[in-house]
Subunit: 240 residues, 2 copies
DNA sequence: CGGGCTTATGGTCGAGGCAACCTGAAGGGG
DNA sequence: CCCCTTCAGGTTGCCTCGACCATAAGCCCG
């Protein structure tokens, strides 16, 4: 049988990055991706997106979640289908290295994991985290897949409340704004961000205040996301 | 081998519909979909989306185009991947009819065909056109797939110049506006539509005028779409 | 304990997009 | 020849968004 179907995931987490742009040098947030080292022949030894074959008796999304958890130990807070690659599409920019990657169809998901959980993957074998602006050489066309996932994230964070998937269930508006700034790569006005975030309805105030903040100053309220839809794209639901 | 991979398409065309809403009764444009009658056991005799198994030696998009042309005889002006369904996802709302549709993964594309071409499919066997608001009972969960494709079309026509995929290479602004009105289901202001269409840059005036119009009146310019990207979603291109 | 610093919070203002509406012009049909 | 339909362009008002400013509320440090 010449047809293989794999399910892989672009997993995105937000952690303080040591990338010294020369700005302030403080703990600037950046996007990180866990990759696994291939142990089989096509591109053996290269880094690749975590994934696995389509499991038995479960749907595509569950298969993606299983493969993701098995290979990295993570439990994503958000998971959505990205694109289905396959056939000879991926051989566009390959010359003739490796045997025959034809007849390999891979359905790729993209996932967001919370900050406190992104350390769980350290335990897994052959898994290493890389910042998205300093990726190693990747197997297949995975670099393009990652670029596409990043474009999707940057586009979707503008109109959909998915930023809190990077954060715990309760967070301050400053933390949420830091997520947006890290993803979009530019600073946002605190006042405007507060207004449009509260007006969008994706977030609600808990009423509780945050007192023990490390060195930050004034009236910090805490906000909580109301409903985190894990997979808003599939057909059962029509886009608003 | 328990894994089957199929490629099917939601094909959309615009043709005058005989649906008498009681408005003006004239040739109102409506969306139509070609369906094929199943001749094999799961849901035999029911109408289903045209498709076929993943062919040899070609990519997913080319496979979708081949299956589409083979079963309906159409050549779509626009083709884009919609979603990958499979595993047990589709058994959510099935009780226990049919044998075992598990392990069937189908990658669904959506396509737009031009008005002058949508008659070509009449020749094909077992193919019939249905208006989207009067669909018969469909096999599998294809009704949800169609709903999802319609939602994508209505959402994407608002920000992307894909409406001219329903029209010949040159068309009047009135024709383009009629397409938008038919897809969105509401009337649009001619002046505002003209302004934002010309400002969007997706269309350019040819300078030629249309004289022999049937009964319509005055200065009709013709416009031509500049570049029709068939598949704007895949990773090589990042969303603007 | 108090000054200075950082940051949230609310307000204002101007630019731009958009929907609705109006007026004039160009043809074609009765 | 008059009327009717439709395009073409203009105007107005509303809403949104980004930029900017002022104030207040803590925290840090002297």
């Amino acid at each position: 049988m010449a047809l293989q179907l794999a399910v892989s995931s672009v997993i995105l987490a937000l952690r303080p990055s040591p990338d010294d742009d020369g700005d302030d040098g403080g703990g600037v947030l950046g996007l990180w991706i866990p990759l696994v080292r291939r142990i089989r022949e096509p591109y053996e030894g290269r880094w690749a997106l975590p994934g696995g074959p389509l499991g038995e008796g479960c749907g595509l999304e569950q298969a993606a979640r299983n493969a993701l958890t098995t290979s990295t130990g993570l439990d994503p807070a958000y998971l959505e289908q990205l694109y289905a690659f396959g056939g000879l599409d991926r051989s566009r920019d390959r010359e003739n290295e490796g045997p025959d990657p034809d007849r390999v169809v891979s359905i790729v998901y993209w996932a967001l994991v919370r900050a406190e959980e992104d350390q769980a993957a350290v335990r897994a074998h052959n898994v290493e985290w890389f910042p998205v602006d300093a990726l190693p050489d990747l197997a297949f066309d995975h670099i393009q897949v990652i670029d596409y996932a990043l474009a999707r994230l940057r586009a979707k964070i503008l109109y959909s409340p998915i930023a809190h998937a990077f954060l715990p269930t309760e967070f301050t508006l400053a933390e949420l704004r830091a997520v947006h700034e890290a993803v979009l790569g530019r600073e946002l006005d605190p006042a405007n961000f507060r207004r449009q975030t509260l007006a969008s309805g994706g977030v609600e105030p808990t009423g509780r205040r945050l007192e023990g903040t490390n060195h930050r100053p004034p009236s910090l309220y805490r906000y909580r996301a109301e409903s985190v839809a894990t997979s808003p794209t599939p057909p059962p639901r029509s886009a608003s």
